[in-house]
Symmetry: C2
Subunit: 334 residues, 2 copies
Amino acid sequence: MNQRPRVTIRDVAREAGVSVTTVSDALSGGGRLSEATRVKVSVVADRLGYIPNPSARHLRKGRTGTIGLYFPDRVLGLEYYMTLAVGAAEGALRHDLALTLIPGWRDSRRVASFHLDGMILADPVLGDPVLDELRRQRVPVVTCERDLSPGSQPVGRVESDNEAAMRGLLDHLRDQGARRTALIASDATTSWGHDLRAAYGAWCGRHRVTPQIQDVPLVSHPDEVAHAAEILLTGRRRPDAIISAMDGSAIGVLQAAERHGLRVPDDVLVASCVDGADLRQSTPPVTAIDIQPRVMGQWAAELLAEVLAGTQPSGTVRTLETHLVPRASTGGDR
Amino acid sequence: MNQRPRVTIRDVAREAGVSVTTVSDALSGGGRLSEATRVKVSVVADRLGYIPNPSARHLRKGRTGTIGLYFPDRVLGLEYYMTLAVGAAEGALRHDLALTLIPGWRDSRRVASFHLDGMILADPVLGDPVLDELRRQRVPVVTCERDLSPGSQPVGRVESDNEAAMRGLLDHLRDQGARRTALIASDATTSWGHDLRAAYGAWCGRHRVTPQIQDVPLVSHPDEVAHAAEILLTGRRRPDAIISAMDGSAIGVLQAAERHGLRVPDDVLVASCVDGADLRQSTPPVTAIDIQPRVMGQWAAELLAEVLAGTQPSGTVRTLETHLVPRASTGGDR
DNA sequence: GACCAGAAAAGAAACGTTTCTGCACCCCCT
DNA sequence: AGGGGGTGCAGAAACGTTTCTTTTCTGGTC
């Protein structure tokens, strides 16, 4: 029905009065052609609006020109992953790759049907069966943050120095007067969660502070976070600062504080490890760590593209800078 | 480098002792084969882990098996589009199509290099040059909400009855005691914005209420929304309810109200036309219209797939239900 | 016993590229 | 004058499918 007639390399060849070989070489820069032929062909190709058929090209080259972005199903709606996805699409486009979205899928064999050249794993979760399947299929993988699975052999990795970021945040809170900073964090099934907890523990040890951690799921209902916060705020050792790690979760802490008549930042400081629109717009705005998800996505896609092209060695790791964004919730904007 | 040897249809044929034709027919259900051969081939294919090469298949069939999702660059980070994107990916997967993300691109010719079978346009914006390019290229398009561009001929459309939703919201506010409801809305360059304004105007006329509209950009800084809200709240005819249409914007209204010592919902009701996590978590939670972006994305992808497959006529329109979610900001949860 | 119909399967072309190899031609050297 | 080495281009195979056409059987009918 929608058969728009495509102009092929043969059409260009006929129109330019040369062979298809010559057209291919002229447009790709290969072969041994005179400059005159090259421009002649280019002009004709342009005039005809010739666009190489990617399927044919990929069939011939043994690649699909497509990489996938995989993220766990449950993270749906987290701003962080949306931003990362857009960044990845941009990075892929820059290398003439298409970026296919793979929401956490039920049938893990399905992913193989796309013959993807590679995959980006955003925050791989320990124990995700999909990771095993990808390993079995020997799909080249770049991870955002580390993959904790034993035997994981990504061809590349993009990461943030989350431990340093956590230390910086803890220092900031201390500078703002906090002496008992508690942490609400998800489990250690992602390297991000693991590193934050480790850095928190180490920092507390160094500063002779008793660590207080409340566990919540990586993607949790706001009420769960609020509940965790209330446990802290009504406990024997009420903290004077709370870090709520997960994307969008700090709002729950604000609510809990309000419910108990505590004012932020006067009575308790609040901060988050993932910045987002909600934290910028809340009352008060919440101090957070900007982990630059868009750049993370771009870097991951570009790194994967480069490793696939062979211009970067397998196993390359790139580290992204994080920035502390002080806001009113820690009195940090003053 | 990552040359994992693929098993081809020829391998299956050799192993099963039949021709490639037979394998193809057996696996696709075509041809005239005995049931015995069919199962024999399937078993062998399964054992060998055969997965058809999509490039070869698409080359032969004249399609790429890939559809694109286009959304304006600036909407980055809006939860609505993330959710829609995931829904679209799910819907596409269900029809064995890949979903490629196309962030608002600079070089509009680039999109043609993917030879996409079709595109989903999420909230097409009037005047977007990309729309013209797609029309020129005769790419089959399904839009989420209407495309207001003159001459637009999408092969399908998924939409919500935004006018009805707006009327329902206005009725709700009236039931909660509001007599002067103001609207903060974006311009009419999307059909969504257009319909909301139209419905608001009509409703006001019918109820003999003087309409008050404040204009803000579709994607606006929270401060802009707060500023618009303040103009309303400090004006001569202070509204007793404010609808802030855009995704995530109602938070700005809450802030403005608080700044002026007005309590929500006691002094002023607040509602939004796009539900989101921020509205669920704010204090108070904000009444909103749930427009089911995930389903919207699913439907768009499936409709496009069906039109491309010819099982649905071009021009099909599907309408999604919207739901009013009353929350504390309008006293509606009581 | 030849013929035919239909079923079951094989053969071969085609999709649009890329790339390896081959073929002229020209210039230069001896 | 005949070879040798570039240069500029064309031919053809190959990538892995799908699909149109053809062949090979089998069994039944006159």
